[in-house]
Amino acid sequence: MHALLAVASSFTGPRLDYHALAPEIILTATLVLVLLADLVLEERNQWLISNLAGIGVLASVIPIITLAVQNHAARSMAGGAYVVDDFSLVLKALFLGIGYVVLLMSTNYVEEGDYYQGEYYFLLLASLLGMVVMASARDLITIFVALETLSIPAYMLAGWRKRDLKSNEAAIKYYLLGVLASAVMLYGMSLVFGYTGSTVLTEIGKQVNGSITHKPVITLGIFFIVIGFAFKVSAVPFHFWAPDTYEGSPTPVTAFLSVASKTAGFVALLELIYVGFLGRNDVWGPMFWVLAALTMTVGNLIALRQTNVVRLLAYSSIAQAGYVLVPFAVAGDNIAARRSSFTAAVVYLMIYAAMNLGAFSVVIAVARKTRSGDISSYGGLFEYAPGLTVAMTVFLFALAGIPPAGGWFAKLMVFRAVLDSGTTWAVVLGVIAGVNSVIALYYYAAVAREMWMSPVPDGDVTPVRVPAPLLASLGLTGLVVMAIGVYPQLFAHFGDLGTLVR
C-alpha cells in the first residue's frame, strides 16, 4: 500500500495540449448536449437539435483554424501516439466539412422521417468524432479505437429506419463485414506489435525499416492489416457489403458512409503505410496494385448495369476508391512517387468528398418528389428542375473526370504519381485507370442522358421543392467542385503535406 502511494505521489498526469485537442473536446461537448437536448426538448422543438449539431461542428472548426494559423511544429502527445500536425489539421477540417454537409443533407430528411431525431444526430456526431481522432492517430491502439468509434455508430445509422427491412439488411451486412474486418485488422496489429514490441507507428517504422525487416510474421501482419482496411474502403474483392448497405441505408447516411467512412479508412492507411510500413513496399505495393486494378475495373463494370441511382453511386464510389488506391500501389517505388502519391491520395479524397456529397444531395432532393431511386425516374428532370439537373450534371462529370468540373484534377494527380514512379507495372496500372475512366463515363453519361434527353416518365412536371439546408449543401459542394476544377491550386496545396512523408 505504501509502495503504491509512493508511486502515486510521484505520478504526474500526462500533459494535455488543450488547444490541440480543442476540436475533439468541442465535438464531444456538442455530442453530449445533443443527447441531453433530445431528452429535454418536446417533439415540436426537436428541429433545434439539428441546428445545435451544425453549430457544434462549425465551432470545432475554429480551433483547427487557430492551430493552422499558429504554424506550430507538430504537437505530439502520449509518446507520439496522438499527433496534431498539418496533415491531421487538413483532414480534420475535411471530416468536419463532410460532417457539416451531411448534417445539411439530413435536416429535412430526418425531420420528415418517422424515427427519432436526437439519436440520429448523436450517432452522426459520434462517428464524426472517431474520424477526427483518426486524423491524429499515430498508434495502433489509437487507430483501432478511432476506427471503432467511427464504425459502431455508423452500423446503427445504417439501420436507423428500424422498421424497414432494407435498412435492417443494410445494418446487418455492414455490421458483420465491418466487425470481421476489424478482427482481421486486429489480428494483423497483434502480430506487428508482437514483433516490434511497440504500438507507436514511428517506433514500428524504425524497426520495420531496420533489422527485422524480413521476418515473415511482419509480412503477415501487414497483410492482415491491409486486408482489414480493404474491407473498410470497400476495395474489391472485399466490397460486397457496400452496394447493399448503401442502397438500404437512409440516403444521407449512405452519403456519409461512402465519403467520410471511406476517407477515414484511407487516412488510416496513409498513416500506417507512410509512418509505419514504408520499408515493406514489397508487401503492400503488389497488394495495393491488385486491389486498385480490381476495384476500378469491377466497380465500373458492375456499375454499368445498375438501374438504381443509389446503387449506381455505390458502385461508382467503389470504383473511385480504386483510383485512390492507385497512388498507394506506386508509393513505394521512389522518393518522387512517394511524395506525389501522398499528395494525389489526399487531393483525391478532398475532391471526391465534394463531388460525391453533391451527387447524393441531388439524389435526396429528387427523391423528395419522385419517391424513387430508379434512374428512369430521372427522365426529363431538365424540364421541371433545370437547376438540379445542371448540378447533377456537374457532379457526375466531375466524378467522370471531365474538365472543368473538379474531378479531372484528382485523376491528373493520380496519373502524375503513376508517371513519377515510371515502372512498367505502374504504367500498366495507369493505363488500366485510363481505360476505366472512359468506361465510367458511360454510366455517368447514362444518368445525364436520362435527365436531359428522356421524357418525364409520368408526365408530372411540378417543380421540385428544395428546402434551404439541402440547397446550402448543393451550393457548397457545387461551388467547391467548380472552384477546384477551374483553379485547382486553391486546394492542391492542402495535399502538399510533408509531415508524413520522409
Partner: protein
C-alpha cells in the same frame, strides 16, 4: 503593352462564359432578352476579337502577342499561359465569327425542344472552350479547354438533335473522350520526359517546342506522338477514327453541325500543328507517311462515302472527312508550304462546310426531310437558296477564285516535295490519289446540287409554299459568302499571317525549299 492588351485575350476567352452565367439568371420566359444577352455577348467577344486583329503586329506573327503568363496550378507547375500568334489568329477569328452568326441564325428557329435559354448557354460555354483552346500555350490549359467543348456539344446533340440523337451523342462523347484520355497521358509523358536546358520540367508549349523533344529516346517519342496522334486524329477526324462524325453531324441541330464542322474539327488539326509536330519533330517525321496514308484514304473514302449517301447532311459530313483529309495531307508533308495550305484549308473548310450545314438545316426546316430522293427543284421554289447552295458546292469542290481552292490545291502541291527524309515516291503517289479525290469531290458535290437544286419539284412538295430566305438567314449567311469570295480572291490575307509561325513549326525539319507562300502570286508555283 497597355492594360487592355493584357486583358484582351483573356476577355476573348472568358466573356462568353460570363455571358452564360448571366443568362442563367435571366428567367426562362423572357426569350427576347435571353437571345439579346447571348447575341450581345458574342458580339462583344467578337468586338474584342476585332480589337485583337487591329492591334496585332503583323510583322511579328511568329511571336506570341497579347501573351499572359501567370501562375495557375503550382503543384504540377502548370501555368495560365495564353497568347496569340499567326496560327491561332485565324482560328480564333473564325471561332468568334461563326459563334455570332450561329446565334443570329437561330434567332427565331430554335430546334425542338426549343428552350433557347439552355441552348444559348451551351453555345456560349462552347465558345469559351473553342477560343480558349486556340490561345492556350500550356498543355494542361489546352486540355481543360479542349475538354470544355465536349459537354456542351454532347448536350446540344443529345437534347436538340434528330431522332437518333441519344446514340449519336454518346458515341461522339465516348470516342472523343477515349482520344482525350490518350492525349492527357501523352501530355504527362511529355512533362516527365522533356527536360529543359535548366533541368526543369514544364507543360509550357512554347518551351517544349523550343527543345524539339531533346532527350527523349526515339521509341518513347514514337509512343508519345502515337498518343497525341490518336487523340487529335479522333477529333479531326481521320480515317479510321471518323465513325462518330457522320452520326454526330446527321443528328446534331443545324447550329451544332455548323460549329462542329466549322470549329470543333479544327481543334484536332490545330493540335497537330501547335503541339504534336513542333514538340516531337523527330517522331513526326516517322509518323508522317502514316498520317499521309490515312489522309489520302480519308480523301477517297470520304468521297466514295458521299456517293453512297441518301441524306444531305450525312453527305456533307462525309465530304468533311474528305476535306479534312486534304488538311491532314498538307500537315503530313511537314513543310511550311503544306502546313500553310492546311491552315488555309481549315479556315476555308470552316466557312464553306459551315455554310453547307446552314443550308441543309434550312432545307430540312422547309421540307422536313433531308433525303436526296425526296428533294428537288429548290431553284424553282426558293431560287436564292438554290443559288447559294450552288455557290457553296462550287466553293467546296475547290473552284479557283473561291476559298476552297487555296486549301486544297496547295496541299496537293506540297506533297510533290515533302520535307527532307520523307519518301518522295510515296508522297507523290499521295499526290496522284489526292488529285483523283478532287475529281470525286466535284462529282459528289455536283450530284448533290443536281438532286437538290435542279430538276422539278417532287410531287409531295408541289403545292407546298416554300419560303425563300428570310431575315436571320440573310444576316447570318451574307458575311460567310463574302468571306468565301474574299479569301478566294486574296488568299494572302491568311497566308501572310500564318507563314512565319509555320516556319517556326517546321524549323526542325531541314527543308528542301524555303517557303514562298507569302502572297497570292507565289502560291501554285512549285
Amino acid at each position: 503593352m497597355n492594360a487592355f492588351d493584357h486583358w484582351a485575350l483573356s476577355g476573348a476567352v472568358f466573356i462568353p462564359i460570363l455571358g452564360a452565367v448571366l443568362l442563367a439568371f435571366v428567367p426562362k420566359r423572357l426569350e427576347v432578352e435571353i437571345k439579346a444577352v447571348a447575341l450581345l455577348t458574342t458580339v462583344v467577344t467578337a468586338g474584342v476579337g476585332v480589337y485583337l486583329l487591329a492591334h496585332f503586329d503583323y510583322d511579328k506573327t511568329h511571336q506570341l502577342q497579347y501573351a499572359v503568363d501567370r501562375s495557375w496550378i503550382d503543384v504540377i507547375s502548370s501555368r495560365y499561359h495564353i497568347g496569340l500568334d499567326g496560327i491561332s489568329l485565324p482560328m480564333l477569328a473564325l471561332s468568334m465569327f461563326i459563334s455570332v452568326l450561329c446565334i443570329v441564325y437561330s434567332w427565331d428557329h430554335f430546334p425542338e425542344p426549343h428552350n433557347p435559354k439552355a441552348f444559348l448557354i451551351l453555345l456560349l460555354v462552347l465558345e469559351t472552350g473553342m477560343n480558349g483552346t486556340f490561345v492556350a500555350q500550356d498543355l494542361i490549359l489546352f486540355f481543360v479547354f479542349f475538354e470544355l467543348v465536349l459537354l456542351p456539344m454532347y448536350f446540344m446533340i443529345g437534347v436538340w438533335g434528330g431522332p437518333n440523337r441519344q446514340y449519336a451523342s454518346i458515341k461522339f462523347f465516348l470516342v472523343t473522350l477515349f482520344g482525350s484520355a490518350l492525349m492527357i497521358l501523352s501530355f504527362l509523358a511529355l512533362y516527365f520526359k522533356v527536360t529543359l536546358p535548366d533541368g526543369s520540367h514544364t507543360f509550357d508549349i512554347v518551351k517544349l517546342a523550343s527543345v524539339h523533344g531533346a532527350g527523349i529516346a526515339h521509341g518513347a517519342q514514337l509512343l508519345i506522338f502515337g498518343g497525341l496522334f490518336i487523340g487529335f486524329a479522333i477529333k479531326v477526324p481521320m480515317f479510321p477514327f471518323h465513325t462518330w462524325l457522320p452520326d454526330a453531324h446527321t443528328e446534331a441541330p443545324t447550329v451544332g453541325s455548323v460549329i462542329l464542322a466549322a470549329i470543333l474539327l479544327k481543334l484536332g488539326t490545330y493540335g497537330f500543328i501547335r503541339i504534336a509536330i513542333p514538340i516531337l519533330p523527330e517522331a513526326a517525321k516517322s509518323w508522317a507517311p502514316w498520317i499521309g496514308v490515312l489522309a489520302v484514304i480519308g480523301i477517297i473514302y470520304g468521297a466514295l462515302g458521299c456517293l453512297a449517301q441518301r441524306d444531305m447532311k450525312r453527305l456533307i459530313a462525309f465530304s468533311s472527312i474528305a476535306h479534312m483529309g486534304f488538311v491532314m495531307l498538307g500537315i503530313s508533308t511537314l513543310t511550311t508550304y503544306g502546313i500553310n495550305a492546311a491552315i488555309f484549308g481549315m479556315v476555308a473548310h470552316g466557312l464553306i462546310t459551315g455554310m453547307l450545314f446552314f443550308l441543309a438545316g434550312s432545307i430540312q426546316e422547309r421540307f422536313h426531310t433531308r433525303e436526296l430522293d425526296r428533294l428537288g427543284g429548290l431553284l424553282l421554289q426558293a431560287p436564292r437558296m438554290g443559288w447559294i447552295l450552288g455557290f457553296c458546292a462550287m466553293a467546296s469542290l475547290g473552284l479557283p477564285g473561291l476559298a476552297g481552292f487555296w486549301g486544297e490545291f496547295p496541299a496537293i502541291l506540297s506533297t510533290y516535295s515533302p520535307a527532307v527524309g520523307l519518301n518522295l515516291a510515296l508522297f507523290r503517289t499521295f499526290m496522284v490519289i489526292a488529285s483523283i479525290g478532287t475529281v470525286l469531290a466535284a462529282g459528289y458535290l455536283l450530284w448533290m446540287l443536281q438532286r437538290v437544286a435542279f430538276g422539278t419539284v417532287k410531287a409531295e412538295f408541289e403545292h407546298e409554299h416554300i419560303h425563300d430566305m428570310h431575315g436571320p438567314e440573310y444576316l447570318a449567311w451574307t458575311p460567310i459568302l463574302v468571306l468565301i469570295v474574299l479569301l478566294g480572291v486574296v488568299p494572302g490575307i491568311v497566308f501572310r499571317v500564318t507563314d512565319k509561325p509555320v516556319q517556326k513549326v517546321t524549323v526542325a525539319h531541314v527543308e528542301q525549299r524555303r517557303s514562298v507562300v507569302t502572297g497570292q502570286t507565289a502560291v501554285g508555283q512549285p
